[in-house]
């Protein structure tokens, strides 16, 4: 995994310069989007379901657990992303700007 992330010339490059990291990011983003959309939809269209208590967590209801779960999932996915990202060699060209 060294060959795929050196996008031609260093400076002023095209959007998808780091395909591997970008694809990884996009995948994780879509995963999270799905979990978030589920949460928002449940709140909007099935607020009753959100009131059901979950015995496994001391009877705390789904609304709280799903909400906390979203916060924990954000952190967990962020850690996964950080662990799997390849570090691009610093593209020195930023310094000079224009």
């Amino acid at each position: 995994m060294k060959s795929d992330n050196t996008p031609g010339a260093g400076a002023g490059n095209e959007g998808v310069g780091l395909p591997r990291n970008a694809r990884l990011g996009l995948g994780l983003f879509l995963l999270y989007l799905l979990i978030y959309a589920g949460f928002v939809a449940l709140n909007a269209f099935a607020a009753d379901t959100m009131g059901k208590s979950v015995a496994a967590f001391g009877g705390v209801n789904l609304a709280i657990l799903y909400g906390m779960g979203l916060i924990i999932a954000a952190f967990a996915l962020a850690c996964v992303y950080m662990a799997l990202c390849t570090d691009a060699p610093e593209a020195g060209g930023e310094e000079g700007g224009r």
């Binding site: 490059n13 996009l26 983003f29 999270y32 269209f45 607020a47």
Partner: protein
């Protein structure tokens, strides 16, 4: 409620502000170059930057607004917490790396890197300015609202104070001092909120009222009317019943001491009535329960409220509880909430009645309890229920998309040295911010049951909760809340200063400026934006901060996100497409907001029923609109050499 000046908060407050200014002085001589001023030389350590993200992002609206909303209505406030946090996922997974790779000082740099187009510079700079100023207003309003109870000064003193201190921070050392102020503020906020949460859990829940708390009575109506000196007032205007009401719920009785107690009948046939509290404004003077608002003789103040009325299994006090146990216990308890209603007399005087409403914990811990989100509750049967649901979806979408479009957050990516550091600092930011938002749930519920709630000011719920643990904690939490405002405002002013001095003056008008001139121009702009923020903060002091922050997220997401995302992921994006998307997103979302019900109510004082926008949050319409405009305009303005372009269309696959 009336607040009196006390020394401890004032001293703690002065220490905090003094420390913040000392930091600015310390770094003052390090910001001579433009790169130092706007991007802290790109030398900030990723961990410091991560916590500074939290300090930048966790504004007064997050801290005070969310806690207040949870304290008053329950779960609904937590929905904001989740939306605000989820937005960071977009920032980390989609925006962070390319933005860091492409930009220099501002996000306009990144958008414009490929095209070098004056149109993009202008549109991005204007959008940055507008979003920053929109976001500045609630921060300044929040500062005013805090200083009043904390130091006993009128609101405008707080606004001016924040303005002056922040301009000072930004002008002395730009991004370097701003970063450290945000770092310190972010750490303090998380640490002290954790401490407060531990104290809440340790105190547990109790049905016993705090010492000296007012006992609100439920008595037979006959007894109320037969009290010595009592005299029932004739029901005039809406007191005799309002449209759609099954029965007139209120009975007003003038007492022997001249005060008026308003009693509420819980049902048509009820023989007993419950005591309420009222607040009315007549010719600019406030009256509480029929007497002038104050704490002196012959005056009345609203009583603080917030009490658990029943615990599971008939307990009176739970003792220390674990976090999940705290939530499940509250879910099986009953808490007295205090909704309010406005009643107009025949002479037009509007009286706000606050009445106790015992509410089951299971109803508090589900969405739909607040007026903002009432439409998602299955109990809501009005014809506009569908629109209310769309409004909710729209807000959650705007919060999700807004974070990664806020200019003052984006500029923080330029303060670290490379993309790996940008990534790591975002993860630290997510950890700190996520943890804080978990705490807001406990702080809000703790305030709800603390007996300390001020019914007229839900933003004070968190500091007042702290006061139930002692005056020193109140002082510290209030001072932290104030530094919270400082941290966020300095980030915003810096973003606005970069938009004007770097994007507009240097890049758009191509003014020839040396590095030194650029820094000076940035500082002058910072002072001007600071003055504008002070003026707007005073002008908008009646507006609700959380509500205004929602506006800023909608505008930021509609104007900036389509351009950022499409530039990174769609190779046929053209400069005209980007310029058009920013312009249309900005104008459509602003116009929608200014024509929405809440703007009619609180800006123009008109009947919200006449509002032209069908629901209040534009995001669900204007964010897709931005994408659509970008795609259509880009396709219409395709450059002539298709062969070269097509080479980039295919996202390079793994080698």
């Amino acid at each position: 409620m009336i607040y009196h000046f006390t020394w401890p908060p004032f001293i703690v407050f002065c220490l905090f502000v003094g420390a913040v200014l000392a930091i600015s002085f310390h770094f003052g001589n390090k910001a001579k170059s433009a790169k130092g001023y706007y991007a802290a030389h790109g030398q900030i350590h990723w961990f410091v930057n991560g916590i500074a993200f939290a300090g930048d992002y966790l504004s007064a609206a997050s801290f005070l607004g969310i806690c207040g909303m949870i304290a008053f209505y329950g779960y609904d406030g937590f929905l904001y917490s989740i939306g605000y946090l989820a937005g960071w996922i977009v920032a980390l997974f989609v925006i962070a790396e390319p933005l860091k790779r492409l930009g220099k000082f501002t996000f306009a740099d990144a958008l414009d890197k490929k095209f070098n187009s004056p149109g993009i510079k202008l549109a991005a700079a204007i959008s940055t300015l507008i979003v920053s100023i929109f976001y500045l207003i609630p921060q300044m309003v929040g500062a005013g609202a805090l200083v009043k109870p904390l130091l006993g000064f009128p609101e405008y003193v707080g606004v001016v104070l924040v303005g002056v201190v922040v301009v000072f921070i930004v002008v002395t050392a730009g991004m370097v001092s701003t970063t450290y102020v945000q770092f310190i503020k972010g750490s303090l906020l998380v640490i002290f909120c954790l401490l407060l949460t531990v104290m809440i859990l340790n105190r547990g829940l109790t049905t016993r009222a705090a010492a000296g708390a007012h006992e609100f009575r439920t008595v037979p109506l006959a007894e109320v009317l037969a009290a010595p000196g009592a005299q029932a007032l004739a029901p005039d205007g809406e007191w005799s019943g309002r449209t759609g009401e099954a029965f007139p719920p209120y009975v007003r009785v003038k007492n022997a001491d001249g005060s008026v107690t308003t009693w509420r009948k819980p049902s048509r046939d009820a023989t007993s009535v419950v005591e309420t509290q009222t607040l009315a404004k007549i010719n600019g003077v406030s009256f509480v329960n029929g007497l002038p608002h104050g704490t002196g003789k012959g005056e009345r103040d609203l009583f603080p409220v917030g009490q658990v009325s029943k615990l599971p299994d008939g307990q009176t006090s739970t003792g220390p509880l674990g976090p999940l146990q705290y939530l499940s216990t509250l879910q099986n308890s009953e808490v007295i909430l205090w909704p309010s209603e406005d009643v107009k007399s025949a002479d037009g005087t509007k009286t706000t009645v606050y009445y106790p409403k015992p509410t089951t914990g299971s109803a508090i811990m589900v969405p739909g309890g607040s007026p903002t989100f009432a439409g998602v509750s299955p109990k809501y049967k009005k014809p506009d229920a569908t629109l209310k649901k769309i409004d909710f979806l729209s807000l959650m979408l705007a919060l999700f998309c807004g974070t990664a479009s806020l200019p003052h957050i984006l500029i923080r990516y330029y303060t670290v040295k490379d993309q790996a550091a940008a990534r790591k600092s975002t993860v630290v930011g997510i950890a700190a911010i996520g943890f804080f938002y978990v705490l807001t749930l406990f702080l809000g519920l703790g305030a709800m049951t603390s007996g300390a709630i001020d019914l007229t000011n839900n933003a004070m719920s968190a500091p007042l909760l702290a006061r139930t643990f002692g005056p020193m904690l109140f002082a510290v939490i209030s001072a932290i809340a104030f530094t919270t405002v400082l941290g966020t405002v300095s980030g915003l002013i810096l973003a606005a200063s970069g938009a004007v001095a770097h994007d507009l003056m240097t890049n758009f008008f191509r003014l020839a400026m040396s590095d030194h001139d650029k820094v000076r121009a940035g500082k002058i702009v910072a002072v001007i934006v600071g003055v504008i923020a002070i003026v707007l903060g005073i002008a908008f002091k009646e507006m609700n901060p959380t509500f205004l922050v929602g506006w800023a997220f909608n505008v930021a997401a509609s104007a900036n996100l389509p351009a950022l995302v499409m530039l990174l992921f769609w190779k046929r994006t053209t400069k005209q497409g980007i310029t058009a998307a920013i312009t249309v997103g900005l104008i459509s979302s602003l116009a929608w907001l200014l024509l929405s019900g809440p703007a009619y109510t609180s800006v123009y004082h008109l009947d919200p029923k006449n509002a032209l926008a069908p629901f209040s949050q534009p995001g669900i319409v204007t964010i897709p609109l931005g994408f659509l405009v970008l795609v259509v305009v880009s396709l219409m303005t395709r450059p002539q050499e298709p062969a070269e372009n097509r080479a980039f269309e295919v996202i390079p696959s793994a080698a």
